[in-house]
């Protein structure tokens, strides 16, 4: 942990976003994670994405559970709301918060322990409800906070720091999410901000639950030879078959189109996701084909990254529940709770 505060000195050519804020205005407290932790890079990517999108800090809510990953909301956007929940229970808190105020941008940060062990059920139901939020799994394949035990995402054969191999099969959040109907599924790597930042922007623009599984090496307990989630192994096994551009409404971006062609998906708010260099026959809106492609590549020992699947047609939690368009916090109390007379009338209907 650094002993000094981050200097307030700024680069003289520091840019400002539409809110006249610099990227430094989206920073949080100094990180207390180990030096070199992948999580800090993800934090930096979140800072950059939120700054680029000019989201007002006070319109952001940061949520997390327990674990190294769950400490990180402290390290970005000081001016945002935050809730650090019980272990694995962040999805319910997020669903509840979203129910009460559908206008905020919800950024949930979790880890492989928080999401794939104790909180797996919670995660599945948040996906099922299609709660509009960004859900980042900072996946390092190890329980770092408790000193390096295998987690539910440790690959078969990956070794602990002392050299013991893991024998249990991992839960892959990406294929799991696809199989239960997630509407936005992506995977990235903490060391690849060129990819992670646009994926985060797309996730913020998505109308429902956006899952991003981010490989995030644990520099202290899982960055050794024999680990499949070290910096080196992640770089070696990662493939990036899809380049993703996030194109906000009314902003033209000229990008080079790869030899394999381009696929565009229009988001709910009018922004466009543009997939370039897509493999032949790859359709990021076809759940079956994406699943098959991922299984095929996994069998070949590759970890596919990028925004893999997106479906903008599905209703989110509020649409399914037919709630009012106004966030409930803004509905007058007299209307929200019309009193015992109204309740009696309602109950009478069931007699």
């Amino acid at each position: 942990m650094p002993s000094i505060a981050k200097p307030v000195a700024k680069h003289p050519s520091l840019q400002r976003n539409k809110l006249d804020l610099t990227i430094r205005d989206y920073e949080g407290a100094m990180s207390t994670l180990c030096a070199g932790c992948g999580h800090d890079s993800i934090t930096a990517a979140i800072v950059k994405a939120l700054w680029k999108m000019s989201i007002e800090p006070h319109r952001i809510a940061k949520l997390s559970g327990i674990g190294c990953s769950s400490k990180t909301p402290t390290y970005f956007v000081n001016g945002a709301h935050g809730f650090n929940s019980a272990h694995g229970r962040m999805p319910s808190i997020a669903a509840g918060a979203s129910a009460a105020n559908r206008d905020l941008v919800y950024i949930g940060v979790s880890g492989d322990g928080d999401s794939l062990s104790i909180g797996l059920g919670q995660l599945c139901h948040a996906i099922r409800r299609n709660v509009k939020m960004v859900y980042v799994i900072e996946n390092n394949g190890v329980y770092g906070l408790t000193k390096g035990q295998f987690s539910a995402s440790t690959d078969i054969g990956s070794t602990s720091k002392k050299g013991d191999p893991n024998r249990m099969p991992p839960i892959d959040p990406v294929t799991m999410a696809l199989s239960i109907g997630a509407t936005f599924v992506a995977r990235s790597f903490s060391g690849d901000k060129d990819q992670l930042v646009p994926v985060l922007e797309a996730a913020v623009a998505h109308r429902g639950f956006a899952l991003i599984d981010v490989i995030s090496p644990c520099v202290t307990f899982n960055d050794h030879k024999g680990s499949t989630k070290s910096y080196l192994a992640s770089r070696q096994s990662m493939v990036r078959p899809i380049e993703t551009d996030f194109v906000p409404p009314a902003e033209e971006i000229l990008a080079q189109i790869g030899t394999n062609g381009v696929t565009s998906v229009t988001m709910h708010d009018g922004s466009v996701l543009r997939f370039t260099a897509v493999p032949k026959d790859y359709d990021p809106t076809d759940r079956g084909k994406v699943s098959a492609y991922l299984r095929e590549r996994a069998a070949a020992g590759e970890v596919v990254t990028g925004l893999l699947y997106v479906d903008e047609s599905q209703p989110d939690m509020h649409e399914m529940s037919q709630t009012v368009a106004t966030p409930l916090v803004n509905v007058p109390y007299s209307k929200l709770c019309p009193g015992s007379g109204a309740l009696s009338k309602l109950l009478d209907q069931f007699r």
Partner: protein, 562 residues
Amino acid sequence: MIAQGKYTESYLLNRKSNVFPGILGRTCDRPCEPACRRTRVEEKPVAICRLKRVAADLKGEYKQFLPTAPETKNGKRVALIGAGPASLTVANDLMPLGYSVTLFEKQDKPGGLMRSNIPSFRLPESVLQEECDDILEMGVDVRYNSPVTSMRDLLGQGYDAVFVGTGAPRGKDLDIPGRHDTDRIHIGIDWLESVAFGHIDKIGEKVLIIGVGNTAMDCCRTSRRLGGNDIKVMARRPRAYFKASPWELEDAEEEQVEIVINHAPKRFVIEDGRLVGMEFERLEWDAKARNSRVLETVILPCEDVILAIGQENAFPWIEREIGIEFDKWDMPKVDETTFESTRPGVFFGGDSAFGPKNIIWAVEHGHQAAISIHNHCMGVPVTSRPPQGLNIVSQKMGLSEWSYHNDYNPSKRQKMVHVDLTERFQKLNIEVELGFDPEQTAREVQRCLNCDIQTVFTAKRCIECDACIDICPVQCLTITRNGGEEDLRGRLSAPAINLTQALYVSDALPQTSRIMAKDEDVCVHCGLCAERCPTAAWDMQKSDVLIPFAGISVCTNSYATV
């Protein structure tokens, strides 16, 4: 060391190269401050000059730590001409080596220009005398009231080497109508000298100063103290083209001196043999102040005029056929590295070498000339210069512990407190600047961005985790694919806009063969990159530049504290 209150140690360290910390801490032209990197993150540089004064003012007993001359001399005799900063520096460097040094001075006190041209309200006489004495007390044979009138005669006295440090003693004149019809027109540097030595103690109420350099500032402020109360400094060109240091202009204006721009002198107005005014052409300049046109002529009343339009060298006492060649501007031909003239064994330094510069340059000339003189006397070619050295040592002491102060202090430059206007004019020698108090000193020192602490990168250790890039407060780090410099400058975390600052580009990184690029431009040396680096690929290392002096090579030139 200043931050730690080790004033004596900092004074002695500073003295090695600077020789006159107390004097220069008050009067320096500060060529260092425009180079200060603090100006890259905010407006004003660290008050380097004033901090040297703090060390000089607050130092404790220090005389016992000064260099001393050995009792046994080395048998070599050196003559120095003029007791200004250049000659005194030569004496300072040569005395400890056993030289017998004879110093010729036309006045009856040492200091040269530092005494005659810098008014005592800027530089107290006691400070000047103390630092001159520190050198002279090593046993320099000083001959006061002894102007050298013939170089030929001096060379005939068998000195092993002669150093000329006579400055640029002749103030430029302004030969326009009326110049020679009154005795109330003064040459700036001569007038200041007369004031310094007590020959002049008053001036008229209305005074015009012609010229707008630092000498003009000294003249107007001195006039203010000798009876002048309507003082105008007359400049030909707009303010952006003034030669005076900005802070000296500020100090003059604080004393209600009026600075008048765009006025070119035309003639002196004499009535009944008495100076009553001066006529000027009021000018209008084009955008870059190259061409002007005359708008009108105006007459400004005055009782005295002081000319401060520059100074020149003058060597009427050096015979032209004794092997010392002069160029077409009647300046001696002097080697810019060795400071030797065309006659072996005769050296020049300070303003007398290349024309008017400033005190700190004179000191540097003195150091270099001393090396040459030592070489010359020891039979080594003067062109054989001792090498500079550089020590680089890691400052890491432990987890989050560094042996330098890395916390960035956002304080603004501390303001120098001045004596009240009413009080300061009561006597000529009331020092205007009070110096920094301890709190101001502590804040000002912490503004330093530790340029001596380098970020040193070892590419083979890097695992490309991006921790350093993410933490850097000024976005000076980037990991990217290599490319040409122009291409690379545009692809960094923040554009590298200062083209005079070279980019650091590492060897190829082990995992992806990309490179680490660093734009040093606005690095504040906070060390967070090194602190967040899990593999110690980044390290903060102190670079100690080792400067050789005459007879002291960098190997023995320890900067260790006393």
